[in-house]
Amino acid sequence: MSRYTGVTEQDLREMLSAVGVGSVEDLFAEIPDGVRLKRDIDLPPGRSEQEVFDELAGLAARNRHCDAEVTFLGAGMYDHYVPAVIDTLLSRSEFLTPYTPYQPEVSQGGLQVMFEFQTAIAELTGLPVANASVYEGPSAVAAAGYLAKLETRRTKLVASRGLHPHSRGALRSHATGYGMDVVEVPLDAEGATDVGALAAAVDDDTAAVFVQQPNFLGTVEELGGLAEAGKRTGALAICAADPLPLGILKPPGELGVDVCVGEGQSLGNRLDFGGPSFGFFAAAERFLRKMPGRIAGETRDVDGKRGFVLTLQTREQHIRRERATHNICTAQALNALAGVVYLSWLGRRGLVELAELMLRRTHYARGALGLEPINPGPVVREFAVHVPDLDALFERARAEGINPGYRLARDFPEYPDGLLVAITERRTRADIDRLAALAAAVREVVAA
């Protein structure tokens, strides 16, 4: 008996007697001898709660986390402040421990949260319908590609290199399965998607074009022009977006975008070394019955009382099976709860204030660093610069407890000396000035 089970010796006797067998072993008699494991599982013995805590704490202590340094690292996940209300609400057993709401009468809390979440995502993206979450950002991009396949029956996907490299990777992997090719379009000399190249890449076989707002370098894309160019042969315009900057950026849905997806970590979710967070998926009304995943809808009960249910389930795998719009089942409900609580905490004005603060600090930081920008145009939350001696900057900065950002060469050979710097509300002017001083010091050494 472990601390999580409760069969006493007395219980065991009574239970075996009720079943009509002599031992627990008898219950496994149907398993052929040839496939039985005739030894113990080769793992160390179990330990007390206290010992496990200590062991895990020891492992955690070997990670340099965002409270242990000043980090300018972003590139898809960001060091934002997560308010205390989120810890309080997400740790409630009522939210933490139910399954997917298959019995709506006893799941109204979770279902209403989904409905409120869908509303917030629809508001941010400027698109009328959103689902209750998908796994995370890059696989949401891949899910949008599948929708484009179902909608157009075409074979080609066109992706800007401004789309997160993980999104492009996930799109390629998934598209290999559903039988589509992915073509990439380069960024122009100012780090924005090359609209001419995008228009040229689109043809009658193109099911969708993918761009990102702001793009991977932090550039605010001219989304309207890209969507128009992308759609000229009937392809869908799909935008991956960071939801926080959407607080001040024109909603993709108002700029001709058909489907807007994205990574939700920046909305009240922990970094967690990459997950769990949530992905969101919003679309034009005509795609409502082709969307992936759970969707909550408002309805009435037999007494006429307002309530919420999982709706349009004939799209989903458990009903439609091989003709489902996607195979997703378990998604990210708890993380989406964090998202809608966060957005409600910020509120209508707070989201704008936070996004404007990020915008101003981003531009301040780009100026303060004094390095040649890769994307000199409008940026928000992130920007890219050429650094003459990137290794020297990292060495000095890390010794002083600063993480300067993301080395672009990891994914962009075209920017061998590129550094991607992320700014959140947690990076103060003092933090930025420290990084700028280091950059200046390294520059002097290089010049000398």
């Binding site: 069969v7 008699a29 599982i41 793992l43 898809g76 009960d301 003709r323």
Partner: protein, 526 residues
């Protein structure tokens, strides 16, 4: 009804956070702007700027907390009571796991932190990979897939890459007619055609049907064992021979792994690829619909194709501490399935669970899960219950079993749905209903190992009382539930005229009922 409602305010009409909004209220105060307050117009071109703020709610912190706390009270949850949802493995979620997952070294670790500054996280992943490999009996593990269905997709993408590498094109994938819905949906998404394999009278795979269909055009058989009827397929060795002789891969849907840890390993049964549901077998709390994680374990011949990045260890052979790293240089890899390294927060909880229980403890999990299921099956096989809800395939079950509600429908006039809804009034969660599809009026019961005998007895008593009550007056069950925050909901209406987001009253002119309620609850100035 005498039982108290889940929420003492169950009589209240639902109010969304948007309807609680009042212009001017706020929970958030922005940090000081310590850089020049350059006008936004100078930083963003007009065509990129939002004209109107997103219509998010305006609420104070106390109202925000109350709103979501009140909502939470309308959920039934595992910490409150019995949750025998078949194939979902709703076992207790140890509270330690939340504490260790929240440690800043885990929760506040950036996914792109350089590996040398993330050694603790990478070691945890490395050791978890090893533990899952040992449980599965397959040597290579990728933790990356985000959930079971994502693991299934990974498995079929790996199968495609494996066959392509051998110059083979195989368009079909076999799934039993008892399969979870995710299996056929995955097959289509991975670009294959579904071919169904029948079920034999004993509940296992129909071998003749399998032999007839397993040919050179078949890429894979997706199977779960024990299957969705809760039965261990006694012919697994023959199934393996047929599938492998055809040149196909054998895929193990790990949804039912809770039955066989330390008893029989998928790798030893001949499976090439296995996915784990860490939110089932390994107690990640389900969160009302996620997050989960769906790691995969594979055999040697599949390993070259695993997703990138791979977590690897260097050195450590001569007694020194190994160094952990991420390996992207995998030329045959299927590529990425998602961002970063997977749902690490889930891995932390799973690792804590495995360290808490150890190898012996995991075996005890499965033995107790199977004992509990057979005990509950025996209790539900008693007179007064079995006449109405007989076991669909009466063999020794594994961790779950399936009842048929057909006799109850005929003799008592109540359907499985009615039985399930009446359970809600007794504050136990119903089993999975109407699945698997080949059992009429199915109820699929999975008690898990963390329930005590008294809880199982109570459930049997509840079932008995519902049936006895129905013999007197079936209307009570037919109209159930009676004590929940809402009663049966109009799902057909919801699908016919979908309302999937809140809108201000003035945007809903066409729906008088909707507008009336919104105004009754006092819509704020949004």
């Amino acid at each position: 009804m005498t039982r108290p409602a889940l929420d003492p305010r169950a009589g209240d009409e639902a109010v969304t956070i948007y309807e609680r909004s009042r212009a001017g209220r706020r929970a958030f105060v922005a940090p000081e702007c310590d850089v020049p307050e350059v006008p936004v117009e100078d930083l963003l071109p007009a065509d990129a700027r939002r004209d109107q703020p997103a219509r998010l709610p305006e609420v104070s912190e106390p109202e925000l907390v109350r709103h979501y706390t009140m909502l939470s009270a309308k959920n039934f949850h595992l910490d409150e009571g019995f949750y025998p949802l078949g194939s979902c493995t709703m076992k207790h979620n140890p509270k330690l796991h939340e504490r260790v997952a929240a440690l800043p070294g885990h929760a506040r670790l950036h996914p792109l932190q350089e590996p040398r500054y993330a050694q603790g996280a990478l070691e945890l992943m490395w050791r978890l990979q090893g533990a899952l490999a040992e449980v599965a009996g397959l040597p290579h593990v990728s933790l990356q897939p985000s959930a079971g269905s994502h693991g299934e997709l990974a498995g079929l993408l790996l199968t495609r890459a494996y066959h392509a590498d051998r110059g083979e094109q195989r368009p079909k994938v076999l799934t039993p007619d008892t399969a979870h819905g995710t299996n056929p949906a995955t097959v289509t998404m991975a670009g294959y055609e579904v071919v169904k394999v029948g079920t034999a009278p004993d509940g296992g795979v129909d071998l003749d049907d399998l032999r007839a269909k397993a040919g050179p055009d078949v890429a894979c058989l997706m199977l779960t064992n024990p299957n969705t009827l809760g039965l261990f397929d006694r012919n697994i060795e023959e199934i393996k021979r047929i599938v492998h002789d055809a040149g196909a891969t054998l895929y193990y849907d790990g949804a039912n792994l809770n039955a066989v840890m330390g008893i029989a390993r998928p790798g030893d049964m001949g499976f090439d690829i296995v996915h784990f549901n860490l939110h089932k077998t390994f107690t990640q709390p389900h969160g009302g619909g996620g997050p989960g994680a769906g790691p995969i374990a594979v055999s040697d011949r599949i390993e070259p194709f695993l997703p990138i990045p791979r977590v690897v260890a260097h050195g450590g052979e001569n007694g020194g501490a190994p160094a952990f790293d991420l390996d992207f240089d995998r030329p045959k890899s299927i590529g990425r399935l998602r961002g970063f390294q997977g749902n690490f927060g889930v891995f932390v909880r799973t690792f804590a669970y495995i360290r808490s229980l150890g190898g012996d403890g995991l075996e005890d999990v499965s033995r107790t899960a199977v004992l509990n299921a057979n005990y509950l099956k025996a209790r539900l096989g008693e007179e007064g219950i079995a006449e109405y809800l007989p076991i669909a395939f009466d063999r020794t079950c594994m961790h779950e079993f399936v009842l048929s509600g057909s006799p109850a429908k005929e003799r008592l006039g109540i359907r499985t749905l009615d039985v399930a809804k009446r359970m809600l009034d007794h504050r136990v969660h119903p089993p999975t209903v109407y699945f698997p599809l080949l059992v009429e009026e199915a109820l699929m019961v999975e008690p898990t190992e963390t329930e005590t005998m008294e809880r199982l007895d109570h459930f049997a008593d509840v079932v008995r009382s519902i049936l006895e009550e129905a013999a007197e007056d079936p209307e009570i069950a037919r109209n159930a539930p009676h004590t929940t925050p809402v009663r049966r909901l109009d799902e057909a209406g919801a699908a016919k005229k979908p309302v999937v987001r809140w809108r201000p009253v003035d945007e809903n002119p066409g729906d008088p009922g909707r507008a009336k309620d919104a105004s009754a609850s006092g819509t704020g100035a949004m």
